[in-house]
């Protein structure tokens, strides 16, 4: 896009570029030399390490990293639910696009074209890289088929979402929001509850479920913190500050070791449920702060204008403040999602088989024990997290820019 409008200019020459960007002052030259040498040495070491490394431990244990102890004869369920999630993603993207396009048409603005394949691959290449690495480690055609079908379903759903007539858009949104439940049912109908989940799947599940359950609670807390009723406000502030003052691990310990004491003895929540409760209680406090930030972004003139029109406090909050506040929180919410995704690795510490724990399991298998193979398994886990977090944070920044432009 930018390259097309860039004026053609004389090539300044590599030498000029180097002098300007690397050697402009003696200090800069020195820094370039030192840093360049260090980076070169590191790069060479990295290449030699990768070339010499034996990735058998990953090949053998790939399923352990991705789905943990999920019954191996039921893996098609994982593939199917991945397709359902892909359908949801594609549908939502399509609906957002067609919604924006419809509004632009009404307002007589030029249509923003849908992202091209090149743009999409530029935006999501880290995720593609992870999938490619995983497929490169597989020994059966199953995963490749699953990825291909998920991609296909996603693209079809995206086209569908774009083509939906405006009257039916509302129903399609409802459908899109019901799809995660369908994915959940696909995974669980044969009695494989979330206590048997593991690997990356467990991390993703805890992240999504945690945010989903914590979101309503967080909004209530944020509203409570804004409330003019001193007791409601006091309770909300106390909860938020108490939770934000302690590390997640203490809540996980509480959930795993002490939650039972606070419930009737007959009610014994399962392991993952305990963890999910702890994560929800923790996350709600942080989401409350994010939403509060959104409220701050709504200028006081908005409330005054609504009041002068005769809207009640409740109507003002619902129709004027909340829509603007929630819109303003989207980037920060993505940030919160990222940080929860990273935090889900903590469940490994209290004994749940997530993707980080899988690295430990693999390294204690008889074939790989005590060979220092953590330097192969951990970077693999790191790649998965890095790709997810980096992509999401870039998307959040992109959203921030877009939302910023549309306003005022």
């Amino acid at each position: 896009m930018a390259t097309a409008t860039m004026p053609a200019r004389a090539r300044p020459g590599a030498l000029h570029w180097i002098r300007k960007n690397l050697l402009s002052t003696p200090i800069n030259g020195f820094l370039t030399l030192v840093l360049g040498t260090m980076l070169a040495v590191a790069l060479v070491a990295l290449i030699r390490f990768v070339a010499a490394a034996d990735f058998t431990i990953l090949r053998v244990n790939l399923a352990l990293f991705v789905v943990g102890g999920f019954p191996r004869d039921q893996l098609w369920r994982v593939a199917a639910s991945a397709s359902v999630i892909a359908a949801m993603t594609g549908l939502v993207a399509g609906l957002v696009w067609s919604g924006t396009a419809a509004r632009a048409r009404e307002a007589g603005l030029p249509l923003t074209p849908a992202s091209s394949l090149v743009q999409i691959s530029r935006r999501f290449w880290p995720l593609g890289l992870v999938v490619a690495v995983c497929l490169g480690l597989t020994q059966t055609p199953g995963p490749a088929t699953a990825v291909a079908s998920a991609l296909l379903v996603g693209v079809v759903a995206n086209r569908l979402g774009r083509a939906v007539p405006s009257g039916a858009r509302r129903w399609m949104w409802l459908l899109a929001l019901l799809l995660p439940i369908a994915a959940y049912l696909t995974l669980t109908t044969s009695g494989i509850g979330w206590d048997q989940w593991g690997g990356l799947q467990l991390n993703l599940f805890l992240t999504m479920a945690g945010v989903m359950f914590a979101f309503p609670l967080g909004i209530l807390l944020a509203l409570g913190r804004r409330s003019s009723l001193p007791i409601v406000k006091g309770l909300s502030v106390t909860y938020i500050e108490l939770i934000r003052g302690v590390p997640l691990i203490t809540l996980l310990l509480l959930g795993v070791f002490a939650l039972g004491f606070f419930l009737p003895l007959e009610l014994r929540p399962s392991g993952v449920t305990r963890v999910l409760i702890a994560i929800t209680l923790f996350e709600a406090a942080y989401i409350a702060e994010v939403v509060r930030g959104g409220f701050h972004a709504v200028p006081p003139g908005q409330t005054e204008a609504a009041a002068s029109l005769g809207l009640s406090a409740f109507q003002t909050t619902r129709s004027i403040v909340m829509p603007q506040a929630l819109r303003a929180t989207i980037p920060a919410m993505v940030g919160q999602f990222i940080s929860l995704f990273k935090d889900t690795t903590l469940v490994a510490v209290v004994g749940f088989p997530d993707i980080l724990a899988a690295s430990g399991f693999a390294n204690t298998q008889p074939a790989f024990n005590a060979q220092g193979l953590a330097r192969i398994t951990l970077p693999f886990v790191a790649l998965a997290f890095w790709a997810g977090c980096y992509t999401m944070s870039r998307e959040a920044r992109r959203l921030e820019r877009r939302l910023g432009i549309g306003e005022r």
Binding site: L35, G224, V246, F261, P379, F385
Partner: protein, 371 residues
């Protein structure tokens, strides 16, 4: 209406708390677990790596030892991460292409990884692959490194160390007075105050004279390997350095983003206004850009300090005996979980609340008027 809503909130909150408390006391009674804090005096029962505590020491002593270890991570780590964070943050804005790209690479890589993963990696893939404890290596001659412990140079006090410290403290106090009086001089006469020159110069001169007069009260002590015994320097467990290194880098990457964002947030208009007033480059940075950037950066940076302290609880994953690991082991040894976790949370809360209070006072005093 308002009163009713508040009453409802109180009743609901009270009910929830009551049910939780009712269940708790009921269950503890049925299971025969005590509800008091007497267990703090019972023996802890586990030897703590890297400490002199015997397994017979009380739970209380063990927890205090854990708090000390947590604080040690904080005291060493916070200054380190600040320095790295500021350097990398400025580096991202450097005109040197390589420096800017290398800083960006560092930030975008480390920031997007789970801190726990970094800690585990630092321990399993770096520390544990070092030579075994019976044959440590000694690079440069002033480091002693094995996969159990790492020793770095430290400061050892001589005979008159306390006198010297007293003199240093006094010179700092006098330095503040000099700073203040130089400020007054400038305000009165318009002469440049050279506060930094005067103050630091004074302190340096006093420090050097006293150092010579007291016949080297403080010396740098290098760790020395003598057979299997290491003497001198500052030593720590490998796990300590794994947690420290991973968390310092992780938090520094966040601080770097804050630093970069704050400098960029000082608007172009401010720079233009400063230029229009004919301020020099240094004056512009010193009086216009940096003061504003600092005010923008400080609250989120303090927040990162808090996150750092909370993240030290992840030391549990590599067996460094911070307060969380001690609490975890205490529960494992049959001490009552509710009370132990309550104490654990109390430790972190105290720290967080102290820092939040400081931040609140600060932001009330220095709040930038928005717009």
């Amino acid at each position: 209406m308002r009163v009713v809503a508040q009453l409802v909130a109180v009743v609901v909150a009270g009910l929830v708390l009551y049910i939780l408390w009712f269940n708790l006391s009921n269950n503890l009674r049925r299971l025969g677990i005590r509800t008091d804090f007497d267990f703090l005096s019972q023996p802890f029962g586990v030897r703590i790596a890297g400490s002199d505590l015997s397994p017979g020491s009380s739970v209380r002593e063990a927890l205090l030892n854990g708090v000390r270890n947590t604080l040690a991570l904080a005291v060493v780590g916070l200054p380190l991460l600040t320095i790295i964070g500021v350097l990398v943050g400025i580096g991202r804005l450097s005109s040197n292409w390589l420096v800017a790209k290398a800083s960006a690479l560092f930030v975008e890589t480390v920031r997007n990884l789970p801190p726990l993963l970094l800690i585990v990696f630092a321990f399993q893939a770096v520390i544990l692959r070092l030579p075994a404890a019976r044959s440590p290596i000694t690079p440069f001659g002033w480091l002693v490194i094995s996969n159990l412990e790492i020793h770095v140079p430290g400061i050892s006090s001589g005979a008159r160390a306390s006198t010297y410290q007293l003199i240093l403290a006094l010179s700092v106090v006098s330095g503040v007075v000099i700073w203040w009086s130089r400020t007054r001089v400038q305000a009165r006469t318009g002469q440049p105050h050279h506060r930094w020159l005067w103050t630091l110069g004074f302190i340096m001169v006093v420090a050097v004279i006293a150092y010579i007069a007291l016949d080297r009260p403080l010396t740098i002590s290098l760790p020395v390997l003598d057979g299997r015994v290491i003497t001198g320097g500052f030593g720590g467990l490998g796990a300590f350095f794994a947690v420290l290194g991973a968390l310092v880098l992780y938090t520094a990457s966040h601080v770097a983003e804050i630093v970069r964002g704050s400098i960029q947030a000082v608007s172009k208009g401010q720079t233009e206004a400063a230029n229009a007033l004919a301020l020099s480059n240094t004056q512009r940075l010193r009086f216009v850009v940096l003061p504003q950037a600092l005010r923008i950066a400080l609250p989120p940076t303090i927040n990162q300090y808090l996150n750092y302290v909370k993240n030290t609880s992840l030391a549990i994953a590599v067996g460094f005996a911070d307060v969380t690991l001690i609490a975890y082991q205490a529960i494992g040894n049959g001490q009552p979980a509710p009370q132990t976790i309550l104490i654990l949370m109390g430790c972190y809360l105290t720290f967080s609340l102290v820092i939040s209070a400081v931040v609140n006072v600060y932001s009330r005093r220095y709040r930038l008027v928005s717009r």
